[in-house]
Point group: C2
Chain length 566, copies 2
């Protein structure tokens, strides 16, 4: 299945395979007409986000400036052709690659053929083929596409061709989507950054000394530059939300039983102790909703029985005649967030305090250190053997953060069935204890109803300096609980000297080693070091409350006067 | 926690503990007023079902002859007091114990106190306390009740007092139920019979040489004698459906995510590879529905997050304007069912063929031998270590069928994480392959809709001779797939010389060792050996189609002219 590929299986060195895959990627970009200009590394500023608009045509700027909900209207009416739209996004994605290294390959052949078919369909039938007619969607590489390489960023797996499209792509395709670009993930897929030996390091479009987060950081960086306005990521510990937060977009990790993951690169299949999920990343809240509704209503459960047959409950009346109750978790009690996050939390809460439609309740952190211990001990129940063997199959070295999360992680050990069951018991106990916390809030609210959602940081800081993303707790907490969680921008960026009131106290005593590490990052780099990094927060709800979570976010943004697009 | 108990922990022999628990059981029955007569073993006929009516009063006969739906009306109006109702059922349950050994303990104190409170409530408020006001419900022993022993039939665990009621009991209690009797399970709970060293062997009320099935065979035998009309069993391989089929009642195993199992005896907690569930056993289909709706609508997911927050969809319009499509699985391709089952299948199918509201589709068996191999290798992923240590803690010997399923089972081995994951991958692959079978049926039906339900045997024969229930495939198949499955009586019993047209062919060649074993059982015992055993069949549907499954059964019974009560 590796015709035309240079692979380690056929004797090439891992370095040669990497060079060949990068050559292939660049070749797909070189197919674009008209060709993109050469960008010299020396001329790329720290903040790259203004560059694409300077290179693209007016039409391309307009198209790539539109969000999902606007694109769908223009595409459905034929005001913009599918071909023009995907062409604009491919050119912008090609530029994004040159700026921040966020593309695995463009798919100009497939995409333009598909777009032409859709244009013809619209011309013939005078109606769109489906609700996503012509919508370009970017896809993280390990989510398989028929006939294309699926390597999971392991160099030894280059040459592994997907036999089918991943199940999640089917309802999107049926609804009229155009898949046009694939995006990288980090080595082992278990990093909150996006760094591999195969494709190198993806960087943050707002500040190239920072990570765009991970593991869906290819999507993050691409969407941050509007080389896509809707992409598919995946999340088992923050991999959708970390990059969404790092680049200031919307990212949604649904409850695990809503969307099929069948058709992914086969890493640790059979491990059901912590369940990953697909989810959307978008420049708009509407983009998240449209994606999730389309996919869920695709009845994937008919093919993949692990998906719960629960249709999308598309209502705007979850909180019709009562206040939305928002628990506020300022700090997880383990790692104190950096000043920009504290400031964003404070400012949003101050705005919400003025709303008559929202009731705020203090949410105390509850053993988030234990939560991390539990999830970290369940991620690699085989002691990391399978992942390590994927890395070692090519001779490529471990990248720093995959070394850190697997080999240097004190919670990773090869379980026996007994020790596995003990951890699962502990996990279920933690989930039940956390459920009890929600139930108890009914005693503290004005009308005896429970808290609906928790507002909290999405990370212990804004986008991190490369290779420093070592604290997963603000996102992995909700994977352990299998809660739906959405990240959203608060329309603000880090700039120098804005954070004095939110600074660490002069006599700050770190709570633990992780807290000290995080504190030192701020002391070393300060606001100047994180200049221009976007600021995001996170909203979470209970298991399967996916629909009402997105409605709650809409209410919060409206009440706070924040936009639902970026 | 073992005050007042003789336990092995405090030095007693396992035999002494068993004697003491049996003494305790008999003492709770002796508390009844008026006392029950002594029944001499020599005077108990093979078929015991007519005996209780000869001993009980007219009122007691009338009350215990009513089904759930009738009891609820009488209780809600006060025509029958809660006290009278539970008193009648306790007396009948006491008799059932004397006839077939199906009681762990009666709870006269608790039950009469509760009933008195309910009677007072009704008198004061002129309305029932809830939809189950005064309804007596029997409970399998391993489903914990606060302050009572919870030993899971392990002698070494006698003295282990439950700290809380099991979560499933809470919505029933809130709705007005009266818990009045607890019923035995077999040693290890992993038998399709009900045999333990603690309480001995439970036998079938219709023929005491036969098993009442298991592991919820205490419930089965009790309900078979109408010592209860609604009981709670549990099922991971057939443990609700086997006893329901053995005694000719209704038994329902829901999809696993619908009902919380928290609060069970802690055997193999953490094992989530095959998930057990609670479910109802009843003398009426309405009993199953009322139970499940009440429990599901109790929102157990608020306490136990592994429960999916899906309310009971109580509609009678799943098949409003189209034919119900019934797949017919005559034989699982591994073990050919005995003639009485073949006859029952044939006669029901013949009746359904005449219905305009039903379309029958042949359902071919698909690798049910592989299905058994997968589930058997996942039941005891620790090689049975935990279960074995529970047995061995008291020095009690293994009973034959627990020896057979654990120690002599070639598929039981202690897994590594790798071999566990490989089996889970195989399980998920099997589930997806089976889903594809359903999807493909759309090509063969008259209107292009898929099959709704599968009609099949509930077991490879009627109630088995003691210690011969070795083929689980007809029920465990649906546990592997996590499909809801319901067993129902076809109002017929085994009698001599009725089965000639359904006999094994003279030149029958068994398909495998299990088939030969089953064939030999019929050759050895014949219809005379199974005299008076009731005959049941099974209906199954896809995951989470619990509500529509019960509606489909109602339609099938109506179309076939079969009653929905027994």
């Amino acid at each position: 299945m590796s015709i035309g590929f240079i692979t380690t299986a056929s004797g090439a060195s891992w370095q040669d395979v990497a060079v060949d895959r990068q050559r292939h990627r660049d070749a797909t970009i070189a197919e674009l007409h008209p060709p993109l200009p050469v960008l010299l590394a020396d001329n790329i500023p720290l903040n790259t986000t203004s560059i694409p608009d300077k290179i693209l045509t007016d039409e391309e700027r307009t198209i790539t400036g539109a969000n999902v909900e606007d694109l769908l209207v223009k595409l459905a009416t034929g005001e913009w052709s599918s071909t023009a739209v995907v062409q604009a996004f491919m050119r912008r994605a090609g530029l994004a690659q040159k700026l921040v290294n966020c593309v695995t390959e463009l798919l100009p052949d497939r995409a333009l053929r598909r777009a032409a078919e859709l244009d013809e369909y619209l011309a013939t039938h005078k109606k769109p083929i489906g609700p996503l007619h012509g919508l370009p969607i970017s896809v993280k590489e390990h989510i398989g596409m028929k006939g294309l390489d699926m390597n999971g960023a392991f160099i030894g797996s280059v040459g592994n061709t997907a036999e089918k499209d991943a199940v999640v792509l089917e309802p999107l395709w049926d609804a009229g989507a155009v898949f046009y670009v694939r995006t990288p993930e980090p080595q082992t897929m278990m990093q909150l950054e996006t760094s591999s030996n195969l494709l190198g390091e993806t960087v943050n479009p707002y500040n190239t000394t920072l990570t765009p987060g991970g593991s869906s950081g290819g999507e993050g960086a691409l969407i941050g530059l509007r080389g896509s306005v809707l992409g598919i990521g995946s999340d088992i510990g923050g991999s959708i939300r970390s990059p969404a937060a790092a680049v200031g977009i919307f990212g949604f990790k649904p409850t695990s039983g809503r969307i099929a993951t069948r058709g992914w690169f086969p890493m640790m299949f059979g491990a059901e102790h912590i369940i990953p999920t697909n989810g959307p990343m978008s420049t708009s809240l509407a983009g998240l909703k449209i994606f999730t509704k389309t996919v869920v209503d695709g009845k994937m459960w008919l093919k993949v029985p692990s998906v719960v047959p629960m249709e999308w409950r598309d209502t705007s009346s979850y909180f019709p005649d009562r206040k939305l109750k928002v628990g506020v978790l300022w700090d997880d009690g383990v790692v104190k967030p950096h000043p920009p996050i504290n400031r964003a939390m404070t400012e949003l809460v101050e705005k919400l305090k003025k709303s008559e439609n929202i009731e705020l309740i203090d949410w105390k952190p509850w053993k988030h250190d234990l939560a991390w211990e539990i999830i970290a001990s369940l991620y690699f129940a085989d002691g990391g053997k399978e992942v390590i063997s994927y890395v070692e199959s090519s001779g490529e070295p471990f990248r720093p953060l995959s070394q850190w999360i697997i080999r240097d992680n004190p919670h990773v050990k090869e379980h026996t069935i007994r020790s596995l069951w003990d951890r699962i018991i502990q996990r279920d106990g933690y989930r039940e204890d956390y459920a009890a916390l929600w139930n108890e809030t009914a005693k503290t609210t004005s009308d005896g109803k429970m808290v609906d959602v928790i507002l909290c940081p999405a990370a212990p800081g804004v986008a991190a300096k490369l290779n420093t993303s070592k604290y997963w707790g603000y996102t992995s907490q909700w994977n352990l609980l299998d809660y739906p969680a959405v990240v959203f921008p608060v329309q603000d960026q880090v700039s120098v000297e804005k954070y004095a009131p939110y600074a660490y106290p002069a006599d700050y005593k770190p709570k633990c080693e992780s807290d000290e590490y995080n504190w030192n990052l701020w002391r070393e780099h300060g606001s100047e070091g994180y200049r221009d990094a976007p600021i995001c927060l996170q909203l979470v709800s209970r298991r399967f409350n996916d629909e009402s979570l997105l409605e709650a976010l809409e209410i919060i943004l409206e009440e706070a006067g924040l936009p639902t697009t970026c």
